[in-house]
Symmetry: C2
Subunit: 304 residues, 2 copies
DNA sequence: GCGTTGATGAAAATAAATTTCTGAAATGTG
DNA sequence: CACATTTCAGAAATTTATTTTCATCAACGC
């Protein structure tokens, strides 16, 4: 470990958190039956695994310590301790998936549950992010003469409002619409150099699909912020997929919003970076706000 | 370690992540000069510390290994390995605070930056959460005959709209207002059994302060979702404080939104649990939506 | 059927962490 | 100011943990 070349620079040390839980669940890299048994044993009680020694883990899985060491190496870790470290990191965000819904009741439990789920949602969104699609979407938005953002229902409404809120500050011409009828009219009236971005948590907003169809006929580019393999995704030119594991979200869409919100956040940042002059303008604006802040009149600082 | 009683149940094993970085920065628990030196050395390169052995850490700090062991114990860890584990967990969410803004540019960096900051914000919000105040706020909201939610600017507007979106589903009578003038009129017309909740990211929304003052005179309860030690907080009856470290948020309020959103989420859940019949109604509603979902018409599932 | 490859555990070797013990410094006390 | 007491810190020894080496076994191909 002392001579490991990447331990100083920290190629995989502090950041990024290669997702060990996923690798463990995934099995594809695991050849032998014993290794699968080991993976299952670790997944069955991750918090035990993060705290136990190699001997204890081996004993619980019914294998020998060397097997555990080899297993860790196969998973891409430098050593067993490295494995434990990475597991601890992954477990911090990923652990809850493995537990059944505890039907929380005390305020502390509710708070922890919501925060954890939100972090999980962000983690999963980030893991499944298609950066290439995101870049293409940002490119389209940055080059658009006019942007329309469509989405309805409590959640997608928020998202498209947020899009408008973020993008108009970057100098984009944008309007958001939460109303199907209005969206259709806007789509019909849109000029060829416009870009339409639509959000749908479920991917089954059929009005949005219809809208996208109409726009495709007219050669206007469309971006969907939605689940992949959904009607909305199929109807759009560029799909920024936000796929979260079904299970826990079926009863509560709320954690999904964090993922969508972050996707919008990333998109807005990429749009800002897509155009240097725009980016500069953005920074100037922020600085101006900062100065205003120092002068005491910070009522509007960063939009409150 | 084998007989450590809490290793099986995992009292501090998987969850909660006692924030070691904060404890390390805090210094108050550290008596001797050597321990402070050790803390400084670890903080100077956290990712080194998470990967190194006790000997390496001791050498770098210029102390002996036993001192490191004792140091870990003093910090509340069971052993040095336990310390490393906790450090790794804390570092995963807390590390970025210690690094200067890297001026991200590639899409991958932007995405990681935003996701990490959002997770940081959630983590910090959770850490500083005053559950007692939150419960009181939820109790007020659950008992209110009418709720007014005030907040302006892009961010707080979103928050109060979200509040309305969440609470009306629970059977609360609620209206959100993003307009100062309108808010004042609503406040003036509010009846004594109403409750007003206001959001302000900066805590310096003076119109909101004025509103709260007016309401206090009239004996109407007010709840603030804002920074503690701010004018808005001072003017409210119940303060749900969301305090995030300044540094990284001065240039971009966006990560703060995740914290506020989660606070609203928690609040809404507590309101739901505050009233059993309401909670039951909520669940029935969700079930009905689920059934509709199975029938194929899931267009409105959970509000999209 | 036999050699080869890869997987596995036992035992040995290595490395790591903790305890014990001893000396040094600081603080209080006569 | 000297002495006792406490606390702190490191050296060495002990314990514990991890990894390497090596021998065995099973599966697979030739």
């Amino acid at each position: 470990m002392t001579d490991k070349p990447d331990s100083a620079g920290g190629a995989n040390s502090g950041m990024g958190a290669p997702d060990l839980i996923a690798a463990l669940t995934d099995e594809s890299g695991l050849v032998s039956a014993l290794e699968r048994k080991l993976a299952a044993s670790i997944l069955a009680d991750v918090s035990f695994a993060t705290n136990a020694s190699i001997t204890e883990i081996a004993a619980r899985a019914g294998v020998s310590p060397p097997t555990v060491t080899r297993f860790c190496r196969r998973l891409g870790c430098a050593s067993f301790s490295d494995f434990k470290l990475q597991l601890a990191r992954s477990a911090y965000v990923g652990l809850r998936y493995l537990r059944p819904e505890p039907m929380t009741s005390t305020p502390a439990e509710v708070a922890e549950d919501i925060v954890t789920k939100a972090q999980n949602a962000l983690f999963e969104m980030h893991r499944g992010l298609d950066l290439e699609a995101l870049s293409r979407a940002a490119g389209l938005l940055a080059g658009a003469q006019m942007i329309y953002a469509f989405g309805s229902g409590g959640n997608s409404s928020m998202i498209v409002n947020e899009l408008q809120n973020r993008l108009f500050r970057l100098g984009c011409r944008i309007t958001a619409s939460n109303d199907h009828g209005m969206s259709l009219m806007l789509a019909a009236a849109a000029e060829p150099d416009a870009v339409v971005i639509g959000s749908s948590f479920t991917g089954r907003n059929l009005e949005l699909v219809r809208c996208f169809g109409l726009l495709r006929e007219r050669g206007i580019k469309t971006i969907a912020l939605t689940q992949s393999n959904s009607p909305v995704a199929a109807a759009a030119d560029v799909v920024v997929a936000v796929d979260l594991p079904e299970g826990q979200n079926i009863f509560r869409a709320s954690s999904t919003r964090y993922a969508f919100l972050a996707a919008v956040d990333i998109l807005a940042n990429l749009v800002a970076y897509a155009d240097r002059s725009r980016s500069a303008r953005l920074l100037r604006g922020i600085k101006a706000q900062l100065i205003r802040h120092r002068d005491g009149d910070d009522r509007q600082l960063l939009g409150d």
